[in-house]
């Protein structure tokens, strides 16, 4: 099984719902974003780009690209970054030594570091700690790859919502997208929705020249 994601940029309205819902569901501390959405070619979000009356506004949501040839996993000295059974890249928070080599390796800038204690930062800014179903907060499995409060000094990033997908549910961003622009499923299964979209529509992946083989596909707008 190789789970991947397809994002239809034709349907993306740049509302940032996926970014926000990700932040809440995964209990991200302030300043940390596993998923971010920007307007392509523009400094300001939701500002059109173009000239001679040809203006357009296209968005680009970016989270971990779940590469098949992941630069981050290859450089991780302790094997804290590893590929799970569904092809998702996960971080074992108890093995991460915080060397930040993965930050230097990842071409997509999706890695997030806990520069300070995330729990304290959340309480100080929001007054509460959100996210994670109750049964995911404790126990060994929860501690290794997903936990409501990471330690300070470890790396974190999108896990395709491992706490949900391991239970057969969809990632929070897929469920929350108001434009239904996000699709999640098995890339090895030719009958899955994601495989069909990739087979029939014009797709691209980010920075293919680096040879990272991402499992996140973008359907270009206008295709």
């Amino acid at each position: 099984m190789r789970n991947g994601m397809v994002i239809d940029l034709e349907k993306c309205i740049g509302c940032q719902t996926c970014a926000v819902v990700c932040k809440i569901h995964n209990s991200l501390p302030p300043g940390t974003w596993w998923n971010r959405v920007f307007t392509q070619g523009s400094v300001e979000h939701q500002a059109a780009v173009g000239d001679n009356g040809n203006f357009k506004m296209e968005f680009l949501p970016i989270s971990c690209q779940m590469c098949d040839n992941p630069a981050c996993e290859k450089v991780c000295p302790t094997g804290a970054t590893h590929t799970g059974g569904g092809g998702e890249l996960l971080i074992d928070y108890e093995k991460c030594i915080g060397c930040r080599y993965c930050f230097a390796a990842c071409p997509y800038g999706v890695r997030q570091f806990n520069w300070s204690d995330p729990k304290t930062a959340k309480i100080e800014t929001m007054g509460y700690v959100s996210g994670y179903p109750l049964d995911c907060r404790e126990g060994k499995a929860a501690h290794l790859v997903y936990t409501q409060n990471r330690h300070k000094g470890v790396a974190e990033k999108c896990s395709f919502c491992a706490q949900y997908t391991s239970e057969g549910e969809l990632p929070a961003c897929v469920r929350a997208c108001p434009g239904k622009a996000r699709f999640y499923g098995d890339l090895d299964d030719p009958t899955s929705e994601v495989s069909k979209l990739i087979a029939t529509r014009q797709v691209y992946r980010l920075k293919e020249e680096f040879g990272t083989e991402p499992k996140v596909y973008y359907l270009s707008s206008g295709s």
Binding site: G41, T78, G98, A104, C106, F113, N114
Partner: protein, 421 residues
């Protein structure tokens, strides 16, 4: 002779005191960092390696250079340098110890360090580096130990306790035989540590500035230059003003080694610059802009300081002159440090994730990265970041500097390191 050693012992003790003071500052700063997390530094997600990694690469460089000098003395039988082979080994040992400590101080979660041994990832160049740096630490220690054995036997130093009942000639012969053997192993390892450290960077395809086959050989060239410059400073300090004339030929050789290595370094640097400038792509232009505009001061320091030293060291007028050798060596070492800092700026300010968007006025469009640091002026996303190390970062960096100074100055002050020809 006696007089010059007494002089040394006073200033040597002062240096040991300074070294211990730096260690204290470093330890205090590190405890602050452990308590608060790496937020005490000015690094952020988009600029995730800073002063610590630059200092690490710097120490690895000077350490490699020390052993290359010391081993060459044995391997190529350079008579005139023989009195200084112990100092060269000691310099290598002190600096690699500092490098090892430095990289540990950079870790966010040092408490998980044992997973390096429990579940090592053999693909990671960082793991290769851990292995070669550890091996090098052992080799340089053995090199110092084997060469110092006869002295330590005379002094009754505890590390040589096992030689107490043995005749001095036997220990001398043992020391000679094993010093040579360690030197033979040490030379390839000295080249290897810097090659592997360079590979940490050179393997990364997403950073154009690092991902070049010229980086490892250039690292080695810079290592020979900066390492030899440090050995030169330590040797001149040890023999003092009075001993200078006696060893002037040896210092001239070291200066020529520094200058020769710099020629190779500048050759590589110029080819790199030429390829980027000639290429004419936005990426190449961006790089030239970063080097000669945004970070021009630092980059010019990297180029000009060693260039001045190189020219000086090739001239007889300067290469036999004590103050000139001292100033030149310091210029090389400062230049080497700037070189290590400049490893980071062009790499992190030339973002990997840039896209060419049709119709957009900014080309290429750089996808902003989250900072992870809301405390830094409330910025959540940024495309580039002018990193300046925090005061506490400098404080933490004083620990490896203090350790190297204490070990090197301490050994020179309390033992006789200049061996007779």
């Amino acid at each position: 002779m006696m007089h010059s050693y007494q002089r040394l012992s006073r200033s040597g003790r002062a240096l040991v005191g300074l070294g211990l003071g730096l260690c204290a500052i470093g330890l205090f700063s590190w405890i602050m960092q452990l308590t608060n997390g790496l937020e005490v530094t000015h690094m952020q997600n988009a600029f995730s390696w800073g002063l610590y990694i630059a200092a690490f690469a710097f120490f690895v460089g000077v350490a490699a250079g020390g052993m290359i000098i010391s081993s060459s003395i044995y391997v190529f039988n350079v008579e005139k340098l023989k009195p200084f082979s112990r100092i060269a080994s000691l310099s290598a040992f002190g600096c690699i110890l500092a490098a090892g400590v430095m990289v540990l101080l950079d870790l966010g979660s040092i408490q998980n360090i044992f997973f390096l041994f429990l579940t090592p990832n053999l693909m990671s160049p960082l793991l290769w580096d851990v292995c070669v740096v550890t091996a090098y630490l052992i080799i340089t220690f053995l090199s110092v130990y084997m060469q110092m054995l006869p002295e330590w036997q005379k002094d009754g130093f505890f590390l040589a306790a096992w030689t107490k009942k043995r005749p001095a000639e036997e220990v001398q012969a043992f020391s000679k035989k094993w010093s040579r053997r360690v030197a033979l192993v040490g030379l390839p390892f000295a080249v290897l540590i810097h090659t592997v450290t360079a590979l940490i960077f050179a393997t990364q395809v997403s950073h154009h500035w690092w991902n070049t086959a010229v980086l490892p050989p250039d690292f080695v060239a810079m290592a020979v230059a900066s390492g030899s410059a440090l050995v030169l400073i330590i040797c001149m300090f040890t023999v003092g003003k009075r001993g200078f004339a006696e060893h002037a030929d040896a210092f001239n050789i070291m200066a020529k080694v520094v200058a020769g290595a710099l020629v190779v370094h500048f050759f590589f640097t110029l080819i790199e610059l030429l390829l980027n400038a000639w290429n004419g792509s936005t990426q190449g232009q961006e790089l030239v802009h970063i080097l000669f505009n945004e970070y021009a001061a630092l980059y010019l320091a990297e180029l000009i300081f060693p260039a001045i030293a190189m020219i000086m060291f090739f001239m007889r007028r300067f290469s036999y002159n004590r103050p000139a050798l001292l100033i030149g060596s310091i210029l090389v070492i400062v230049g080497a440090f700037a070189h290590r800092m400049m490893l980071l700026y062009p790499a992190f300010n030339e973002p990997a994730l840039s896209l060419n968007v049709a119709g957009a006025s900014i080309k290429p469009w750089v996808v902003p990265l989250s900072t992870g640091r809301p405390d830094l002026a409330g910025a959540f996303f940024s495309t580039s970041f002018a990193y300046v190390p925090s005061l506490l970062e400098w404080g933490v960096t004083m620990l490896p500097f203090g350790i190297a100074l204490t070990v090197i100055a301490g050994t020179i002050t309390f033992f006789k390191l200049i061996s007779e020809k």
